[in-house]
Symmetry: C2
Subunit: 322 residues, 2 copies
Amino acid sequence: MSLSTRLTERFGIKHPVISAPMAFAAGGALAGAVGAAGGLGLIGGGYGDAAWLDEQFAAAGNQPVGCGFITWSLRKSPEILDAVLARNPKAVFLSFDDPEPFASLIRARSIPVICQVQTVRDAARAIDIGADVVVAQGSEAGGHGERRATMTLVPEIADLIASRSPATLLCAAGGIADGRGLAACLMLGADGAVIGSRFWASREALVHPNMHRAALAACGDDTTRSSVMDIARRIDWPPRFTARVLRNSFTDRWHGREEDLRANADEEAARWRKAWAEGDVDVANTFVGEAAGLIHAIEPAGEILDRIVREAEAAIQGRSRI
Amino acid sequence: MSLSTRLTERFGIKHPVISAPMAFAAGGALAGAVGAAGGLGLIGGGYGDAAWLDEQFAAAGNQPVGCGFITWSLRKSPEILDAVLARNPKAVFLSFDDPEPFASLIRARSIPVICQVQTVRDAARAIDIGADVVVAQGSEAGGHGERRATMTLVPEIADLIASRSPATLLCAAGGIADGRGLAACLMLGADGAVIGSRFWASREALVHPNMHRAALAACGDDTTRSSVMDIARRIDWPPRFTARVLRNSFTDRWHGREEDLRANADEEAARWRKAWAEGDVDVANTFVGEAAGLIHAIEPAGEILDRIVREAEAAIQGRSRI
């Protein structure tokens, strides 16, 4: 058997795995390593730093990679998309706001559009505007997201796709960090998985070593969803999106006291940003999902991907032989 | 192939499926129907109404069934456990508080103890006190629960069991409503699934027809987790546990305004309870999980179970042949 799916066929990749375009952490080295190992690697376009993106595309070398954007942020600096499209990326991934008009611009260049959604209602919109791939992201994911869980969101969107647009592909995101998770999301009806936290915990990811250590020491119970780190960073995320991070003294102090935090924003913003730069994980938050409890080593991304695929094949084959 | 697992072997059942002991909804007719169809059926002991439990065990007829309890509530009327143990139930299921001293009392009668947990920390405790089965319940479940998602909680607890007590069985709960979900949780390392919402949406469940209709009309985006219905019902749930229900005008009005609700408790309690009795789903809440979006008909429980098993087998076999 193999794990070939419609995703591997459509993108000409070996394994049905996409690395999530995590802001700051997913640079060209990570995207390139995932691509070299047979997945689809994505650079995290984040909040739109053109010089950083240039560096990261360079770091991916000759390996074809794609790029992801935070859609509401891209609306503030749409010229970043033009610069990325000029590089003929393998795909462009949009999440966190209506995908238009960007999706149309991307498709006009014959570049595949991947739309990540957090609700069934947004999935319907992504299908209607012609997304090539819909990614159903569950709340267990690290970083920004919403409230639905991967376990129910994936099959519900699979049914929607089957009835409305059977050629649209579907990937699962949120909580998938090993072969068990990859096998599970294929059973749920996905054509592949978008994996974030597990690749965040790779040697190629651009992550402070203290944050890696904090994630390795954590179990999955130790994360929370909150907006306080966005308030502290003065990033205007739409309120429906919160970020999953490791709980620390900062979230313990401010979560549920968002108005007080806004009143102290100047002081707290400076403190949080200094702590982020220094890797002070008790003040700045470590952006990782519930899958932290499934991650026990920082390893090369290619080895991680190889193992996930082997484990998934073994899980499916083991079960089918009983 | 078959879906035989350690769970089917240990309990002498045909399918690796347990029906959740949902308070009020899971009576003897449902538990008996699930048992007759080859699963393990559980009566919902709920908040400890001895006369109701007598009726429900009678309604199960000759079919062996088990019984579940809300552990913190059982602590207030522990004599209910004695009455249930005297019936030699197939298993006793404990959730929502430390399982002792009840687990020891149950095991002393050689009756299997099933401990449902919502965190890795509680799973460690359940393993340590000798639970026969640990149920990892994700937040997508209907009714009471916590914040972890099924997709990560199951494999993390599977690893804990493997390292600490390999003979302990593991089931997944939360978001499993069809064969895709059952196949997925087997891939995640579970020996079986505890299914709630899908059996709640059966002909045998004790549910007001208006609530069934509301769930059929809902998609998975339409649920929320809150404590407001417990405040309105004057049931003293520990604050860590919230209940997933369909959003309605009651939750829209009071969620986030819990202190105001307490100040209006007399009036709101009477209103909510009247609405519950009358099936007014805009005031009383419909207790169903995110899986509402996967449920499209109210059917006999036995047919539901048969289809789930056939779908799961097909999902695994289809994938293994590629």
